[in-house]
């Protein structure tokens, strides 16, 4: 430890290089700790369970333009034909595709309009009794729709008064867990809860209502509709290939588009977040490399400058380990200075980001981990040059003096 003071004094004689390195380490710590935190948040968002086996499900859009298509009849025909394709587990005509970023939502309250009561925004899915099986979502309490309860229609004159709701919605409207059999209101219109389903994410993954959904037994047959199909594992691609020709065979006067796997649908919606995550990841990696290079370069420069001094020390009896130690301690000293400054910067940056953007508070753990990481990297990038310094022969010093 008695070495610290002379090393510090030596550092003070060539301040600029040290200060630069210190700044570099500080900024790196600030960026890396904030970026890794954002990356982690993004990964958690991208990898959240959706409640669906996305690899086995796909969706597509059908738009009819025939003059005299009977949409109600066609809907039944289409669904039946889809369910008969070998490899298909179930298929359904549905008004909006989960995870797609497009769908509908409504507010559901405990009492009708006019009476003050608790309400929640929820996504609304409309389809027949095959919705849950197609999506692979289980009923936790109560039951699914019966076929007889499903309303197939081409207008809104009547609307079913029963619904399935997700557990998340049931829990938030009925904290006591007695949602089953109760009625909730959409405006003045009551809907009786006949079943509570397991998790199924809504159309908007980024929305806070993503877990709250209502499914109604209502099939609106019209010219623009969507279908979802679940296949046996591994057979999706083969089924997807047949879709367009099959649908056109059933009725040629229509356009079949956007035949996409569910993970692809989700991919489109989360693309900006995925992009940010990737950009940050690249930045963190490159930044770490650059900082390591900087430390490496500065140590090399120092060693070259001090070749004679090192030789003299060796001639005066310093061991190789002493020399290595010297450079290590020097670098660790700069590094610790940089890390202290960096931690402060990181927290300040985190606060700024939190203030201006919807980013959670930077946990100190991230600053800590980053600091340890940066310290390790700086030690690693010093060891090489330090060893080289240790190999400077004492004769170098004596020869040139």
């Amino acid at each position: 430890m008695s070495e610290l003071k002379p090393i510090f004094n030596a550092l003070c004689r060539s301040k600029v290089g040290a200060i630069l390195l210190l700044l570099q380490i500080a900024i790196t710590t600030a960026i890396v700790s904030n970026s890794t935190f954002i990356i982690k948040e993004k990964i958690a968002y991208l990898d959240q369970p959706t409640g669906y086996s996305e690899q086995d499900i796909f969706s597509f859009e059908v738009m009819s333009f025939g003059k005299d298509t009977n949409f109600k009849q066609q809907a039944e025909l289409d669904e039946q034909a889809l369910r008969q394709i070998p490899g298909v587990v179930d298929a359904v005509m549905i008004d909006s595709v989960p995870l797609s970023g497009s769908g509908s939502a409504s507010t559901f309250r405990l009492r009708p309009t006019g009476e003050k009561s608790k309400g929640e925004q929820a996504n609304v899915f409309q389809g027949d009794e095959h919705v849950l099986n197609t999506l692979g979502v289980k009923v936790l309490e109560g039951r699914n729709f019966y076929e007889s309860e499903v309303m197939v229609t081409d207008n809104y004159d009547q609307y079913p008064n029963i619904a399935l709701i997700t557990k998340a919605l049931a829990d938030s409207l009925f904290p006591d867990g007695d949602a089953l059999g109760k009625s909730i209101y959409r405006g003045d219109f009551p809907v009786k809860i006949i079943g509570i389903t397991d998790m199924m994410k809504g159309p908007w993954l980024s929305s806070e209502r993503k877990d709250r959904s209502v499914i109604t037994p209502f099939v609106l047959a019209r010219k623009l509709t969507q279908f979802m199909v679940r296949t046996e594992p591994g057979r999706r691609a083969e089924v997807m290939q047949q879709i367009e020709s099959l649908m056109l065979q059933l009725d040629s006067k229509r356009v079949v588009e956007n035949i996409m796997g569910l993970e692809q649908v989700k991919g489109g919606f989360v693309a900006p977040d995925k992009l940010t995550m990737r950009m940050l990841l690249v930045m963190v990696v490159v930044l770490t490399l650059i900082t390591a290079l900087g430390i490496f370069g500065l140590t090399m420069f120092n060693i070259n400058k001090r070749t004679k001094q090192v030789g003299t020390r060796r001639a005066l009896g310093a061991r190789k380990s002493h020399i290595i130690n010297y450079f290590l301690v020097e670098s660790v000293m700069i590094c610790i200075g940089g890390l202290v400054l960096g931690a402060v910067l990181a927290i300040l940056l985190g606060q700024q980001l939190m203030q201006h953007y919807s980013i959670a508070k930077l946990p100190l753990l991230y600053v800590g981990f980053t600091a340890v990481g940066v310290l390790l990297i700086s030690v690693c990038s010093v060891i090489g040059p330090a060893q080289r310094a240790a190999n400077i022969s004492p004769s170098v010093a004596t020869r040139t003096i």
Partner: protein
């Protein structure tokens, strides 16, 4: 002298290739990362219609009764109701204006030649083409008469014309939208823009529609919107005619106002309009509000630039700062080693300024190399952006401004890094070095 210094810089570059390449790489990577995020940011925030952005104004009315909320930051709904759109359209005002909404159809020619495809369609008024500077290749817009008569006519974009009619002059030809036969009346150049500013309700970076038709066709044929419909009032919306008289918000409204006076007049008109509507039982609220934003104000208001992009730009400039610090230390090492040589130059009569200048030329050259290589890296980065997010295809590009900005930022960054080392080296006292040689 400049050329002599450039020559010297190049020689110096070659003398220490390792360090020089390292410095160029450091600045190139810094510039590459910065320019990637900056380009995306710049394209998102760029004026999409510079010739008209100050004149075109988007109109929002606070139609909701007191007690209702909306998710905009000032609670004012983004779109307008059909009745308001029509009232504003038909009001005796001297300004060009247009109401519009998005829908879509299966497009075909009624035969087997072309496979039917789906195409979004904009229902609007004849003035849109002039207001938004849309250029006609063939034909022209429909007339007011045709609009009032609900004539089944369409204007199509070049892209659709290429697809359906092989790019020939198809004015007068017919096509089918679903089962409706319509006649082509004009063909416009594709409406390409970085941000779909005229309708930001279904994604800011969507392509524009390829078909335009008179808005009067909407009610006549019950053409439903493909955009958002926002209802706040508990009222019947079962049929299309319900929708037309409802408080549902689903249209966009634009007006062209030449100057502040016109804008003030128009705002006053809106205020009077809302008061008049109050007497009809609408706008039940204490404070009447209308937003009349020009294009750039609207983009700011709607938050077209996502916060992720702002964060990326901030972080990447910090990244650039690290690269600058890196270069600074490398430059220090490089320049100081050259002190003896500078000592001789100084002894031979070079002024401090000349030495300083020489070194700044050298770092600028490094900056130029770094900037050029940075453009290559940024192109790679932007390619990654496009591959990762298809809807950014029009945005993840560098235009001329960005291409010029890259070397400029690189050179400025290098000069900032070089100032201190150059100053240090120009202070060299000749005597010290002359003594040892």
């Amino acid at each position: 002298m400049l050329f002599h210094y450039l020559d010297l810089s190049w020689r110096s570059f070659k003398r220490t290739p390792m360090v020089s390449v390292l410095m160029v790489l450091a600045i190139a990577i810094g510039i590459g990362v910065t320019m990637t995020s900056l380009s995306v940011y710049y394209m998102m925030s760029k004026d999409p219609i510079p010739s008209k952005s100050k004149q075109l104004h988007h109109v929002q009315l606070q139609t909701m009764n007191d007690g209702n909320t909306y998710w905009s930051k000032d609670d004012v709904p983004f779109q307008v109701t059909y009745q308001d759109a029509m009232n504003l359209l038909h009001a005796p005002l001297p300004y060009e204006r247009t109401a519009m909404y998005k829908s879509g159809f299966s497009v075909h020619l009624g035969n087997d030649q072309i496979k039917p495809f789906k195409e979004p369609t904009r229902l609007t008024t004849k003035d849109i083409f002039q207001m938004f500077d849309l250029q006609f290749l063939y034909g022209g817009a429909w007339t007011q008469q045709q609009q009032d008569d609900i004539a089944p006519v369409v204007v199509i974009s070049k892209r659709i014309n290429d697809k359906l009619f092989n790019g020939e002059n198809s004015v007068g030809q017919s096509l089918y939208l679903d089962d409706m036969r319509v006649q082509v009346i004009g063909i416009i150049e594709d409406w390409d823009m970085s941000v779909k500013f005229y309708d930001l309700n279904n994604g800011s970076f969507q392509p524009s529609e390829g078909i335009f038709m008179p808005i009067t066709m909407g009610p006549a044929n019950e053409i439903i919107t493909w955009g958002n419909t926002n209802g706040w009032k508990n009222e019947s919306d079962r049929t299309f005619s319900d929708l037309l008289v409802s408080e549902s918000l689903w249209l966009q409204f634009w007006v062209e106002l030449e100057n502040a006076q016109e804008k003030a007049d128009f705002e006053q008109f809106l205020m009077n309009y809302m008061i008049q509507q109050q007497s009809l039982g609408r706008f039940n609220r204490e404070k009447l509000t209308a937003n009349v934003f020009n294009v750039m104000e609207l983009m700011e208001y709607r938050g077209v630039v996502k916060e992720d992009n702002k964060i990326m730009v901030t972080l990447s400039f910090m990244f650039l700062a690290v690269c600058v610090a890196n270069i600074l230390s490398l430059l220090l090492a490089k320049f100081l080693r050259r002190a003896p040589e500078v000592g001789v130059r100084r002894a031979l009569g070079a002024s401090k300024w000349q030495v300083f200048y020489q070194h700044l030329v050298e770092v600028s050259l490094l900056g130029l190399f770094g900037g050029l290589l940075g453009i290559v890296i940024a192109q790679l980065g932007l390619w990654g952006v496009r591959a990762s997010n298809g809807s950014y295809n029009t945005i993840a590009n560098m235009d001329l401004n960005m291409l010029l900005a890259a070397p400029t930022i690189a050179i400025v960054a290098c000069i900032i890094a070089g100032l201190y080392p150059a100053w240090l080296v120009c202070r060299t006292t000749p005597a010290v070095y002359l003594k040892t040689q």
